[in-house]
């Protein structure tokens, strides 16, 4: 075995995505939760690039590129929302932002 099987890349992508989901559910800090979403987007990008390699086509790279662009826009808006939440409530714990709880 002298080269890496393609499925290992997909397994690595799945592991990273699972860790992102775990962090999203476990963490209580709003910024860390947001970073876990970024981790999930990165994991999906890895599988896009791996499939692009398998099919010897460039389309996967373009999808990864668009995911990055959307992630950049999302980070800008999301961090602005976090700033607003902090300005109004002076907390970053998502447990304490619960005014919509019945």
């Amino acid at each position: 075995m002298h080269s890496v099987p393609l499925s290992w890349y997909l397994i690595l992508s799945a592991v990273l995505f699972g860790l992102g989901v775990a962090g999203f559910l476990l963490r209580r800090n709003i910024i860390t939760v947001f970073m876990c979403i970024e981790l999930m987007l990165n994991a999906v990008n890895l599988s896009f690039v791996a499939f692009s390699y398998q099919l010897k086509q460039i389309d996967g790279h373009l999808y990864a590129f668009f995911v990055m662009v959307v992630a950049a826009a999302e980070a800008a808006v999301g961090l602005a929302i976090i700033l607003t939440v902090f300005k109004n409530r002076a907390t970053l714990q998502i447990d304490e932002v619960d005014s919509m709880k019945g």
């Binding site: 699972g18 910024i31 607003t84």
Partner: protein
């Protein structure tokens, strides 16, 4: 052999950094770990022949987006999160079920993915800036233009949300 070594080294680094992101209580430690994940993923992209995506990963993700995150963490003076009581159910079955899920997904991928396909450095080098740019301005022109509108909306949204009201 070298491919295998590179893959294992950077896969272990990225998974280790991701685990660190999940278990750290302070967001700045998480941000540094996420930069580690993104850097090692950039090396794996390079191995898969995606040199443009690897460069964009380092410049846009590890550069711009993570600087924004670190800037906000510093600006808000974020502290380590407080401990909250978790339910016994979560403590007992959370991690075993996560491990079972990952095992299941891994087995499914091993079963479904074509086995002989393997990655050797240099087999596919189509991901150059020239090729990406050409298909971005021909086949993917409409999504590319829609993206510019999306970024404009995001800029306006960020300014509206974060601007300081002058009384």
């Amino acid at each position: 052999m070298t491919e295998m070594l590179i893959f294992w080294a950077f896969a272990i680094v990225s998974v280790g950094c991701a685990v660190n992101l999940v278990i750290q209580r302070h967001p700045i430690n998480g941000a540094i770990s996420l930069i580690g994940v993104m850097g090692s993923l950039a090396v794996l992209y390079l191995q898969l022949g995606a040199e443009f995506i690897a460069a964009v990963q380092v410049i846009v993700y590890a550069g711009a987006i993570m600087v924004l995150f670190v800037f906000v963490i510093m600006l808000l003076n974020a502290e380590a999160e407080q401990r909250t009581g978790r339910s016994a159910v979560v403590r007992l079955i959370g991690f075993p079920s996560l491990a079972a899920l990952l095992l299941l997904v891994g087995m499914l991928i091993r079963r479904l993915a074509p086995a002989p396909e393997s990655v050797r450095f240099g087999d596919f080098m189509g991901g150059t800036a020239e090729n990406i740019g050409r298909s971005l301005f021909t086949g993917y022109l409409l999504p590319f233009e829609v993206t510019s509108a999306l970024i404009l909306v995001a800029i306006i949204g960020a300014i509206v949300l974060a601007h300081k009201e002058i009384d």
